[in-house]
């Protein structure tokens, strides 16, 4: 990065760090600039990567065949219906575009989660117990799995055996959350280290490059 770019990046970095003290004009400026540039960037990306190849080319500029025009027209019409929501009375027709969109992603989700979440975890969970001492760990994993499932049971109150199982389940949950929390600290601190290195080395040249 050139010197000017480094100074701009350093200024914006400090604007965000100032949020730790409290909400202030520098943070507010950086926030509003961030939202504006991000919105413009994403809009331009969608225009270049989606609108031009899938709407502009087949319908206007590019080579047309009746089939390509028809295939490009349907999504374009649904898209325009979505866009028409700008005017309140067009909220009704826009429901067709919403229904199509929700239908697509519900239809993807049902088999997708069935395979990727349910069956993938089940086929992992049914692996035979590890030999020797490992069997204790396998038993603990099974116990944890069953008790956490018991905790998530909706149609039975947490009472009696089911209640005891659910209680053990919460202990497994808490240990799992504690482990996951502690495990994440290093990744977050790494990000802070690289920002502080950017300020101390690239901007202020206080740390030698290795």
């Amino acid at each position: 990065m050139s010197v000017v770019e480094t100074w701009i990046a350093a200024f914006l970095t400090l604007c965000i760090f100032s949020f730790l003290y409290r909400d202030n004009p520098f943070y507010r400026f950086a926030e509003h600039l961030f939202v504006g540039v991000a919105a413009g960037y994403l809009l331009a990306v969608q225009y270049q990567d989606v609108i031009v190849p899938n709407v502009w080319m087949p319908l206007v500029a590019g080579p047309h065949t009746p089939r390509s025009i028809f295939l490009a027209l349907i999504p374009a019409v649904l898209g325009v219906l979505m866009l028409a929501r700008v005017w309140e009375r067009m909220a009704g027709p826009a429901r067709w575009a919403i229904a199509f969109y929700v239908g697509i992603y519900s239809g993807i989700a049902v088999p997708g989660y069935l395979q990727g979440q349910i069956f993938a975890q089940l086929s992992d969970a049914v692996k035979p117990f590890a030999p020797g001492w490992g069997a204790i760990n396998s038993a603990l994993v099974l116990l944890g799995l069953l008790t956490v499932l018991a905790y998530f049971f909706f149609s039975a109150p947490h009472r009696g055996i089911h209640g005891a199982g659910a209680r053990i389940g919460t202990w497994f949950l808490m240990v799992a959350f504690g482990a996951s929390f502690g495990y994440t600290v290093m990744a977050r601190v790494s990000l802070l280290i690289s920002r502080v290195q950017f300020l101390l080395r690239d901007w202020l040249h206080l740390i030698p490059t290795t």
């Binding site: 949020f19 929501r85 919403i98 992603y105 086929s123 998530f152």
Partner: protein, 264 residues
């Protein structure tokens, strides 16, 4: 060399998934019929949703608004679909009490959907004119630009309650910790396991994983919706039983059941 064009009308490797789907549909059908015939369906209380009711009431008394964040998932994330079903019930409660709700959105399609949902809720509650256009608004489809803007809203507009419902990622801690600073009551529901520890630590109530999906049925209390939760429980019991059976059988030298669950 042209790749071999697949002309099969069914992928046999996915038979087990089809069986699973049909089983679930059967559980769903049985329970929905049970509900239609007036069978009462018990569902254990969810503390987070009781707190949500109270939070809406308190916000109304204090004349302050509710901040509802539908998550940073696009429609590919089912947590987002769950959040939409939840906000449709929350909006109705908010409209009934004449409270105000702001919904900053990450995904533009979700914004269009929720805008329609909230507008409709106010109409149904007979307060069509009280709906503030722009209360459901797009902020940014970039993760941390969204976080920067919503943190600003939390600190400057001081909503009485922050409601996080949907798929959240690394930003969950940023939003929940900033919200905690403002003293607002915070209720979260998230399906992303890695983010649950942060919501549990920084929010007053947290709906964990599957509880996010059950929430919309809870708030609405419609019998048919509760029936779908019962269907989920039946499937869960079946899954637990199959795991135990498969492990026991494979220990006795018959790993077939386990292999049935294998997916390509």
């Amino acid at each position: 060399m042209g790749a071999e064009l697949d002309t099969r009308w069914f992928d046999p490797a996915r038979t087990n998934l089809l069986v699973g789907l049909l089983l679930f549909l059967t559980f769903l059908a049985i329970n929905v019929l049970r509900a239609k015939r007036g069978g009462s369906i018990y569902i254990r209380p969810l503390a987070g949703l009781k707190a949500l009711d109270e939070a809406i009431g308190r916000a109304t008394e204090m004349g302050r608004s509710i901040l509802y964040m539908p998550g940073l998932g696009s429609m590919e994330e089912v947590g987002t679909l769950a959040s939409i079903t939840i906000v449709s019930r929350v909006a109705r409660k908010v409209a009934d009490l004449g409270c105000s709700m702001q919904v900053p959105c990450y995904d533009p399609v979700v914004m269009a959907i929720i805008d329609g949902v909230v507008r409709e809720a106010y109409l149904e509650a007979g307060r069509g004119d009280e709906f503030k256009p722009g209360s459901v608004h797009y902020v940014s489809a970039q993760q941390f630009a969204y976080v920067a803007a919503v943190s600003g809203i939390m600190l400057r507009e001081r909503p009485a309650a922050n409601v996080f419902m949907g798929s959240f990622y690394a930003e969950s801690l940023f939003l929940a910790e900033t919200g905690n600073l403002t003293g607002a009551i915070q209720i979260a529901g998230c399906d992303k396991v890695t983010q649950l520890p942060f919501f549990v630590c920084a929010c007053d109530y947290t709906l964990m994983g599957e509880e996010l999906f059950a929430a919309s049925a809870y708030i609405g209390r419609e019998p048919i919706q509760l029936a779908t939760i019962a269907a989920q429980d039946w499937a869960k019991a079946l899954a637990a039983a199959m795991i135990v059976a498969a492990i026991a059988l494979s220990a006795l030298g018959h790993p077939e059941l386990g292999r049935l669950l294998h997916t390509s």
